[in-house]
């Protein structure tokens, strides 16, 4: 950690722009926690770049007193790839929404993940299109009634974490706007990860999809509805911390410790470093209605990052052939002299 960086505070990361989100929007909490975490990362603020697409969430860069580029709808991962490849010493963040990242930008999303570009992707998932005033999104539940689906949507939703894992993500986490501690933890872990880091953040849009996550994140029931994943620890949850996930063949099931002969040993131990993403995938598939919702780091494995390898090739080529010489470039192939 550089000396200058240690002296930074949350205030250093707050820009002078008026924040234009609706009062009560979950985005405020996310912004606050990201600004809280930034000083802890040991990165000077001039080395931080936030790139976003379009949507309510994508206004984020304006509020961060770092470098920022508010790009076009869905394309932030591609823009950020260009930034990161040319400036590998920058800490590059992508802020996107469920519509921005999974609908119009779905292609860039999976390819940035597949390439393992060293980006931190924060997806604010409010299961609705906020900025365009409330149409259903690719994460809205089937049958969702919105302005564009008065009879209910007939689109099956995507599971962002399943998609990220399917696209070979090396780091995947989930957290929620109403849980500052978990938010800070996931954001920090993402920042520390070298390679693509994808964080899905459950975010409440109190205007167009209010309460979308109430059945999960509501304080009074949260401990029964949320499973906090911890590396090396059994997957236990519940008010009394006596429920856990147990493997039955290829399926996970909820078991109660102390009932039907189930002991803590029967509960699956979370291994975020498992090179095989199968368990992480199973966790991403749990049906919200009958299972707890996993939060925290699903997967964190190391693999050379795209930008690293790109820059290595440039270095290797320069070492092998020497720094390019314009004269020999022009004189390539057969030349002849006219006097």
């Amino acid at each position: 950690m550089t000396e200058a960086a240690t002296k930074l505070t949350k205030a250093d990361f707050q820009s002078d722009q008026d924040i234009r989100w609706c009062p009560g929007c979950g985005d405020y909490s996310i912004l606050a926690q990201v600004q809280n975490v930034m000083p802890e990362l040991g990165v000077p603020k001039e080395k931080v770049v936030f790139v976003s697409g379009i949507g309510c969430s994508s206004r984020f860069p304006y509020y961060m007193n770092t470098y920022g580029l508010h790009s076009i709808h869905g394309r932030a991962p591609a823009v950020a790839t260009g930034v990161k490849c040319m400036s590998p010493d920058l800490s590059v963040w992508v802020v996107t929404g469920d519509g921005d990242g999974l609908s119009i930008g779905g292609n860039h999303f999976i390819h940035a993940i597949r390439r393992n570009v060293d980006l931190n992707v924060l997806m604010f998932n409010n299961r609705i299109y906020g900025l365009t005033k409330g149409q259903y999104s690719p994460t809205s539940e089937l049958g969702k009634k919105t302005k564009s689906t008065p009879m209910g949507s007939v689109d099956y939703p995507l599971h962002p974490i399943s998609l990220a894992l399917g696209a070979e993500a090396t780091f995947v986490a989930r957290t929620m706007d109403v849980d500052p501690k978990s938010l800070r933890y996931c954001v920090k872990r993402a920042a520390e990860h070298k390679g693509i880091a994808f964080v899905e953040i459950y975010q409440n849009c109190n205007i167009f999809n209010d309460g979308a996550y109430d059945s999960i994140v509501e304080k009074s029931i949260r401990s029964d509805r949320v499973l906090y994943l911890e590396h090396g620890k059994p997957m236990i949850f519940g008010k009394d911390m006596n429920k856990g996930l147990k493997l039955n063949g290829f399926q996970l099931e909820v078991a109660t410790i102390g009932e039907n002969g189930v002991t803590e040993k029967d509960i699956v131990v979370h291994d975020e470093t498992n090179p095989d993403p199968t368990m992480a995938f199973l966790l991403s598939r749990l049906d919200e209605a009958t299972f707890p919702v996993p939060m925290g780091v699903f997967r964190a494995v190391r693999r050379p990052a795209f930008d690293e390898m790109m820059n290595d090739q440039v270095k290797a080529a320069t070492q092998k052939s020497g720094p390019g010489d314009l004269d020999s470039l022009l004189n390539q192939g057969d030349t002849w002299e006219v006097h």
């Binding site: 722009q17 001039e46 920022g68 508010h70 020497g322 057969d334 006219v338």
Partner: protein
């Protein structure tokens, strides 16, 4: 005088025994007369698998090294391997080489080499009376004739009587020549294009040395293929010597070119090294984000090989990601480049708007092809000018430049970089399929003659605002990582100077005008147009891009006939050179030949209020000189 590798007449390099010409053939050679020409046009055509592009480019390289001026037109089908023997699968390559200045690949061939009936069928309408046709007789089988739609064998009936036809059993002769080479019959058959090339070398009195070097290089790890191709080529040469049918050989002497060092270069290649040069001259590393598309992919391929110049190439998942990554690189303080063809530009339009709004330098290369939609992927057209000018939402001006010859692609890349970085703007380069794949004998520029591109990055935080303006109305370029200059930009309308998000009515109008003014100001900073011919007269022919060669040749021809015709050629299309309006005013008529339905002509009419007339060709093929001449004459 030309100094070239190898001496004036072709000497066989260290002839191996089986390759040496026999004493008789040398005697025969002396007996066959050389007919001298100031220029000749040769066209090779065959199946796309027949290797006609290699044959053509080898003959080109040899003539280039010999010292001819030249221009080429490769013409291949969109399918990689259309069914053999079909009309759809015909691939052609035309070369015009001369001892005089060569502007175009030539209107019609003097010598036509055809490897099968389909190639003959496709090209027949374009062959002039007296054209020499060398045909691979072996391929004129019943089956192939039928596929090509010939009722009877044209080599046997008298339907080709107005040409000078030489049927040669190229396949058989190649096979015989390779009798003692250990390879499959199929592989042997694939050497027949080198037999044809050998015959052509004999016919045009050219040394096979250059091709020998090419083969040695290409097949250094496959000695059998090297030997086979070499033998096939020698056999072709020897065949010319001995076959009684061939009575004449042709001589095209070296051209009196401007002194200097030359090489043969295609437009795509020149564009690639021009971009590398621009990066060197500006001292700013280059990032290319690209998605493969014909006919632009070769620029991606070539730049991918120049990593030691600090160039990074990124094959993105689509054109949108390609341009966006280049914008990201530009935001990071590097030269952002994206290369594509028309359909790709359509996809990039929104992102180009972002670069206009964020006022970042961005290089966009459009190697145009026939459209709309997928159109004619391998054919040339100039139909994306209006797209470049107006094809984005909102008032969204970008600077536009267009190279005029393959070699000019080098210089235009440097010019585009200069404009982009000086004015903080996207610049679109409009090349096309003809320039991209066509080649010319190109005089290498001296590095000391190339412009320096001064790029300044702002590092001083005091008084910094993202949209401050310099004397060119350009805003400061800042590299993220620079302390104290953290700032946010994006596609939402900006307040001038501060760069803050701003939706006020007056500010928007001000910003729209300012962005337009910034581009308009470039006119003060580009060279005035030079008129070809007299500064006033009956007709001014206005061209842009790849039509330079045909138009110049046509104007020169008409002037030689005493017609009061002049020409100007535009390399800058937005803004126009400062004196264009004045020049237009000095002529009774303005004629604009274009390979489209009339695009520049519309802009000229609208901008200068002159009744300009279009001469248009929309066939996926460049103009012939004749077509331009006729087009002008109808209005003279």
């Amino acid at each position: 005088m030309v100094n070239r590798p190898g001496s004036p007449r072709w000497e066989l390099p260290e002839p191996k025994e089986h390759l040496a010409l026999s004493p008789q053939t040398e005697a025969a050679s002396a007996a066959k007369p050389l007919e001298e020409h100031s220029h000749l046009v040769v066209r090779f055509a065959g199946d796309s698998g027949d290797g006609m592009q290699i044959t053509g480019s080898q003959f080109t390289a040899t003539n280039a090294v010999y010292g001819n001026d030249l221009a080429t037109l490769p013409d291949f089908p969109a399918e990689i391997r259309a069914p053999a023997g079909t009309l759809a699968g015909v691939s052609g390559f035309q070369l015009n080489f001369g001892s005089q200045k060569i502007y175009t690949a030539g209107d019609q061939p003097d010598v036509f080499v055809t490897m099968n009936p389909a190639a003959l069928k496709v090209n027949l309408p374009e062959l002039p009376n007296g054209c020499v046709i060398i045909a691979n007789e072996d391929a004129f089988t019943d089956r192939n004739l039928k596929m090509a739609g010939f009722a009877s064998n044209p080599l046997a009936d008298d339907s080709l009587s107005k040409f000078r036809v030489y049927p040669v059993k190229i396949s058989t002769l190649t096979n015989n020549a390779l009798a003692d080479v250990e390879m499959s019959a199929k592989d042997k058959a694939r050497c027949k294009n080198f037999f044809a090339l050998g015959l052509i070398y004999w016919m045009f009195n050219r040394s096979p040395e250059q091709t020998m070097r090419f083969l040695k290089d290409k097949f250094s790890k496959k000695p059998v293929i090297l030997e086979a191709n070499e033998k096939a080529m020698r056999a072709g040469m020897n065949y010319g010597e001995t076959a009684e049918a061939f009575t004449t050989r042709y001589e095209v002497k070296e051209a009196q070119l401007t002194p200097g060092k030359y090489r043969n270069i295609t437009g795509n290649s020149a564009m690639a090294i021009g971009l590398v040069a621009a990066s060197k001259l500006s001292g700013v590393p280059l990032f290319l984000g690209s998605y493969p598309i014909t006919p632009a992919s070769d620029i991606l391929h070539e730049l991918s090989r120049y990593k030691n110049f600090g160039i990074m190439t990124f094959q993105a998942e689509d054109e949108i990601a390609a341009v966006c990554s280049a914008i990201g690189a530009a935001f990071a303080g590097y030269l952002g480049l994206t290369t594509t063809s028309g359909p790709g530009i359509a996809l990039k339009a929104e992102a180009i708007g972002l670069a206009v709004m964020t006022e970042l330098p961005l290089l966009i290369v459009n190697v145009q092809r026939g459209g709309p939609s997928t159109g004619l992927p391998t054919k040339t057209e100039q139909a994306d000018l209006l797209q470049a000018m107006y094809g984005r939402n909102g008032e969204c001006p970008v600077a536009i430049v267009a190279p005029s010859t393959p070699g000019d692609c080098f210089h235009i890349a440097i010019e585009a970089t200069r404009i982009a970085t000086k004015y903080m703007t996207p610049v679109m380069i409009l090349s096309d399929g003809y320039l991209a794949n066509g080649a010319e004998a190109w005089r290498l520029p001296r590095i000391s003659d190339l412009p320096r591109i001064d790029v300044k990055f702002r590092t001083d935080p005091s008084g910094y605002k993202p949209y401050l303006r310099d004397e060119n109305l350009a805003r400061p370029w800042v590299r993220p990582g620079t302390p104290g200059l953290e700032h946010r930009i994006g596609g939402i309308e900006k307040q001038d100077i501060t760069g803050n998000v701003n939706y006020e009515a007056r500010n928007h109008e001000h910003m729209v005008k300012l962005r337009a003014q910034k581009i308009a100001n470039i006119a003060k900073d580009i060279p005035a147009l030079k008129v070809l011919g007299d500064p006033e007269g009956d007709v001014l022919v206005v061209g842009w891009g790849s039509t330079y060669g045909s138009i110049t040749a046509a104007v020169e021809e008409l002037r030689a006939q005493g017609k009061r015709v002049s020409g100007v050629h535009l390399r800058h299309l937005n803004p126009f050179p400062p004196n264009l309006g004045e020049i237009l005013g000095k002529f009774r008529k303005v004629i604009v030949p274009e390979m489209n339905a009339g695009q520049l002509v519309k802009i000229i009419r609208a901008t200068f209020n002159v009744p300009a007339i279009g001469v248009n060709k929309i066939q996926g093929q460049p103009f012939r000189k004749r077509e331009v001449v006729d087009g002008i004459l109808t209005h003279l």
